[in-house]
Symmetry: C2
Subunit: 664 residues, 2 copies
């Protein structure tokens, strides 16, 4: 028994008619380390899926039970892309570079796995996003901020660990097309401040080499105050010559020691982190200073846009946290160096189950942009509750920003299709830890898998991805596969139903962010309010309110600004609405709240029951782990249902029309 | 500069006419360690207060500037009591034992300090309570549970510290009549579980010797699961022969090593602590087993009655945490061994700013009882907000339980006057830490001083105690003394006004217990609800509700049961009341809530302003520390005012009649 699972790379036997696999390379050197990984994976995969031994190089005429694979360099194939074709039992994988070949290999293994490798099949794929990254919020003491799957597998007691698990992690990431990994928490403190000193270069080099074997660049989160903390200086003003010099020297030292490091991720001026604002400088001043320092080495600065006033007064209804990103960054559009990328969360608040798309995405037209999503389920059930997030990400990618006439969706913006950027893409706050199954809830691996696949190929639907994941993870028949796919596809809506209604968000337990606390953030300093009173709830972000809706291009601004045109699922995000307001289906708002909370809990119970159908059909350990999570989800769903319903009943005095139990 | 202050023992000069003090002992040996402490204190005090050198023993005829003091043993004086009389410039202090003589000495020093030592003065005092204890919630890692004055001065890094500060602490305690100190948190875990092993006996002996020098017995909080954690047994069932044997052996070992140990304090079956319930045994089974084990050494088991279901469901309106103590302990009345004392919190909940008196006090008639109060201001402002608690304690002591025709107050019960007990008294969860001023807020020392004085002499008024404390702590004129006394006396009512109305309690931030969160505990598992809806609030604990009111003797039960007879300050503790209900003064409940919250905040501002009058009159360091606390109190009071008012306005929709600002 291994100490960890192989997730979707478990390569169980799918057919027995092929006895051997013969692979030839042309244009790629077997000495290349990525090619080496490819060879290892082909051996492992073909043996697992087919029971076939793999040979390399020309070895005469193949017999009918031999599968021939030719892996060829073809510079006409786009960067990191691949073409797969199959005729006369010979498969050709063409790629312009090693990463493309590796991704093509994984795709080939999937085709075998799905039983879709047959004469005439053709695949032509290249990544939609130049950068496809994972952000780990791992701390060096081994804890993980917002981690729900055990401890870090990168760190134990402030030391970096590089072992077989690291290599498996890199394999999983490569198999879904990830090409960048940030290995430490954006809140850089304690030992992590010393990652850019020779104290850690040795192990970092080892780690970046493992990633390098799989075509992945390593990145570090940076402490903007390093000149103070490490350099003994009294400031970290980005326009100070000594500070600039310090960073220049530091970058020289770092990139000489760690040539495979891709650059730095920076959270500055946010939630207590130091930044350029301290010195009256702009975010661009801060980012550009670092960009200049890393430029000689061809590296990137990824600068997070999660900047807002986290000491707001709840009594102040004019300040609006949702506005902050746009307010701070829009005016500086075009002021950023070419090797700076602004990393923008999908919504203007913070990874709630429902938010509008951030107006910065597409709002910026002259600045490199990267979308940040969170597959760690901080606000979406913490890998206890099932919540398949790909439908949410799909909605974000498909959102029309109206930033120009065509190619104006978020997908167009972050891929570079809209404005021709090269430094852009998508990043996810990852949901892994050292739990045996990597993601706490086995089902949460669908978000890990799905994010990578979607980042590479933004044309995939949430259902396609779900189906791919299920079919690689479990060896079950079509009906059961449908059952799991159905669970996944419905899970986000179910979670939304029993938690925060119509985009309002934040009714969670403070700090932990699991479970309900309707007023938990209502009188806090975090800018997170629902403004419920005895007549209604919701935040007026229209032109009569905070004006947030006006941050969008006119087509969206007009829609969000008007309660009659506003998409219903975002109604309370943009408007303060009376409990007796009739929604489009004729129900009052309060009745809608009651109905969705009763329904959401009931639906959660239903999918939990459905899980039991799988007993005996999937490995018992997985079955029981997920069953246990469902039990906890039901408990949570009941708490949400009853607390939200009681809260609004107590506040409004309006009874449920259907007379269901609401605790008084 | 010392690293810590001398609190009320700072002995500043009060007169200059006495040049020398001559002291003689009769019946007491100067070799006795308590007498030794007395001698040290007289030297220190007389030098400080009078500038006089102290000599001991007969030294011929005194001159007119010599004060003669005779300290005499007199077995007619009650245990730990003293008599002081003064004629012809000769003071006589008589006592039946060393503790009495020591307390008499401190009283004598107070008389000198107050300018009240003159011919003809007579004092006759003996402690009302046999046991007068401090409970430290100090953990061995140096943290203090609910500590607001720095770190522990007993522990650093799991080691016991015995130094000059320990001795000063013992002096302070003796000066106010404390004769027992529990040195570790009732939640016994980690290193503290090993206090009863030879790992710590050496230092514990040193510590108990310092206490012994001041007539104080040391006590330890005990982990009921010690047979498991230390003994390697698989259970700690109090009726298991092996467990009994283990405790017998353990007690022999402990009391041989630590003869000055007074016994053990036990928190069992409470908030996750192990206890007899685990094995289907009663609280009496648990306490008596330990009582038998300590009996050969003449020691005590103090058993806390803070037992309740802390995993309640908020939806369950029948279960009532307030009932739990009585429900668990009343039936066992008379079943406890004579060396067991039940330690009962003043209220049935947990140290809220206003609660009814626990019905167990006096409800038990055949069991030793000890009152537990909390001077650590967990729910009462955390030594940031000024809250002089002696008026609250006075109310508790004066509460008529109706347990018999006469001598039926709480003071009668805990002193043993009611039922003739010897093992009884009063304990406080202490508010000290290693802050320079011991109590975080200099003014919080009034609670420390006041508790000790009140525990010794339950006839003292809150004002008398306040005046004693101020006049020993600050050398200021009468007007300024009046100013501080007035602040202290009004502070509890002010705090109550801007926080939780009419006895409802619990509207605090979960976990930290500082600052408002009206719904913070409303949907929790702690049994702490206000049940506010759009029509009213309060918990129905009458016979129509949870029936808690019926736990009192009929006279009280009838009063509490009826909203018209219920003391107004407890109205919401006992009844669910409509916002439009008219209180006795004609105001509606909602208007009362608004008024008290506006008034309370305004009054807090007023006393904060008054503090500024003292600038330059008291040591600057004290002045600034307290000024800073007042600033934080004002911030807190505004938060409370606005959050509570907004909460109830939003819920009720009823406007403030006076049109003051309530945030919508």
């Amino acid at each position: 028994m291994s100490e960890w699972t192989q997730l979707w790379l478990n390569y169980e036997r799918v057919r027995n008619d092929i006895k051997s696999v013969n692979i030839t390379f042309s244009g790629f050197s077997e000495d290349n380390r990525v090619v080496g990984s490819m060879i290892d994976e082909l051996r492992r995969g073909m043996y697992g899926l087919l029971g076939a031994e793999v040979s390399f190089g020309e070895n005469g005429a193949g017999s009918s039970d031999t599968l021939k694979i030719e892996i060829k360099k073809n510079v006409a194939v786009k960067a990191e892309g691949y073409r797969i074709s199959c005729k006369n039992s010979t498969v050709s994988v063409e790629a312009g570079d090693e990463n493309g070949a590796l991704y093509g290999t994984y795709h080939l293994l999937r085709l075998v796995n799905f039983g879709k490798l047959s004469d005439g099949c053709e695949v032509n794929s290249s990544p939609d996003n130049p950068l496809r990254m994972m952000n780990h919020w791992d701390n060096m003491d081994g804890s993980i901020e917002r981690g729900y799957s055990g401890r870090s597998f990168f760190y134990v007691n402030n030391e970096i660990v590089v072992d077989d698990r690291t290599r498996d992690y890199a394999r999983f990431m490569a198999s879904i097309g990830i090409n960048g990994v940030v290995i430490n928490n954006v809140n850089v403190k304690d030992a992590a401040s010393y990652l850019i000193t020779d104290r850690y270069f040795g192990r970092l080099k080892e780690l970046s080499d493992v990633f390098g074997d799989y075509g992945i660049k390593m990145y570090l989160s940076l402490n903007f105050a390093s000149p103070i903390e490490l350099g003994g200086m009294d400031n970290c003003d980005p326009l100070n010559e000594e500070v600039i010099k310090w960073w220049d020297d530091k970058c020289k030292e770092v990139f000489e020691a760690l040539p495979n490091l891709g650059g730095f991720l920076v959270k500055a001026d946010s939630e207590g982190r130091p930044g350029p604002f301290t010195y009256g400088r702009t975010q661009a001043d801060g980012a550009n200073m670092l960009a200049d320092a890393v430029k000689p080495y061809g590296k990137l600065i990824i600068w997070r846009c999660f900047v807002y006033n986290c000491t707001q007064d709840w009594r102040d209804t004019k300040t609006d946290r949702a506005r902050a990103g746009y307010d701070y960054f829009k005016d500086l559009d075009g002021k950023y160096k070419d090797n700076v990328i602004l990393q923008i969360k999908n919504g203007p608040m913070d990874f709630q189950i429902r938010e509008p798309v951030s107006p910065l995405l597409g709002g910026l037209t002259k600045t490199n942009q990267m979308l940040e999503v969170q597959i760690a389920q901080e606000y979406t059930g913490q890998q206890i509750d099932l919540c398949y997030l790909i439908p949410l990400f799909r909605e974000v990618l498909d959102f029309k920003t109206y930033c120009q006439k065509e190619k104006d969706t978020v997908a167009d913006v972050i891929s570079g299709r809209a404005f021709g950027n090269k430094n852009c893409g998508i990043a996810a706050v990852i949901n892994t830890g050292n739990d045996k199954n990597w993601t706490g809830n086995d089902m949460a691996a669908a978000n890990l898998y799905g994010f990578g696949r979607l980042a590479y190929d933004m044309s995939l639907s949430a259902e396609e991805i779900a189906r791919e994941w299920v079919s690689q993870t479990f060896r079950i028949d079509k009906n059961d596969e449908d059952l799991i796919v159905d669970m996944l596809l419905r899970s986000r809506e179910i979670y939304e139903k029993y938690t925060c209604p119509l985009g309002i968000g934040w009714m969670v337990t403070p700090n932990t962010h699991y479970g309900p606390s309707v007023d938990g953030y209502e009188y806090s300093r975090w800018g997170t309010y629902h403004r419920a009173d005895h007549l209604g709830l919701g935040v007026d972000r229209s032109s009569n309110g905070t004006g947030y809706a006006q941050q969008y291009y006119p087509e969206n601004a007009e829609k969000f600004n008007d309660p009659d045109k506003c998409p219903q699922e975002l109604l309370l995000f943009f408007h303060h609405i009376s409990y007796d307001h009739r929604l489009k289906d004729g129900r009052t708002l309060i009745q809608y709240i009651y109905d969705t909370h009763f329904d959401g809990e009931a639906e959660a119970e239903k999918i939990a029951e459905n899980w039991n159908i799988l007993e005996g059909k999937i490995p018992e350990e997985s079955f029981l782990r997920v069953k246990n999570r469902f039990e906890r989800q039901i408990y949570n769903a009941k708490e949400w249902r009853d607390q939200v319903n009681s809260y609004f009943y107590r506040k409004s005095g309006i009874k449920d029309e259907k007379g269901r139990k609401i605790y008084e």
